[in-house]
Symmetry: C2
Subunit: 72 residues, 2 copies
DNA sequence: ATATAATGGAATATATAAATTACATAGATG
DNA sequence: CATCTATGTAATTTATATATTCCATTATAT
């Protein structure tokens, strides 16, 4: 699973710590999500999107074969 | 948390059982998500969207006060 | 050179998503 | 009526998201 969270977070000028506080989780959780090592809960995804002012579709996606072709 | 899953699933002519098999979970999990009693995993949400041919934003959202106004 | 801020990562504990099994009900259909 | 399909729900178990605590590293600033 891939995501744009790190870019989106920096765009709104938040540290991992600040974002974590805004959405009510720990910094480690944010870190692991950005690293793609977690499969977060929908509710948390929605809270994060709200905090960084993006939609779900803008931040989260699964990298499928069809996507890879489109990326070149 | 609210969602449009039931409508989207019926639109593509799938039973809960069929959708569950497609995305690799049990029927109960689909049922609970449709009823809004689960907070599903992002990965599962993405699989579901793929199966019913919708985007995340089209199916899942949090009902906020600002949303409620817009619905009238 | 040494604080300090921001991030990555590991190890263990806790909460909860999801599986499993089982039973109940409503609708359709023979 | 009896049967089959689709769905709701409950109890228990298992897997894993998240918390907690701690240490390491990099970059910036003093």
């Amino acid at each position: 699973m891939k995501n744009n969270l790190k870019v989106a977070r920096v765009q709104v000028n938040l540290t991992q710590q600040q974002l974590a506080e805004k959405v009510g989780v720990t910094r480690q959780t944010i870190s692991l999500i950005e690293k793609g090592k977690y499969n977060p809960t929908l509710k948390l995804c929605l809270e994060i999107c709200y905090a960084v002012n993006k939609t779900l579709d803008e931040i989260f996606w699964i990298e499928r074969e069809s996507d890879k072709i489109a990326k070149n």
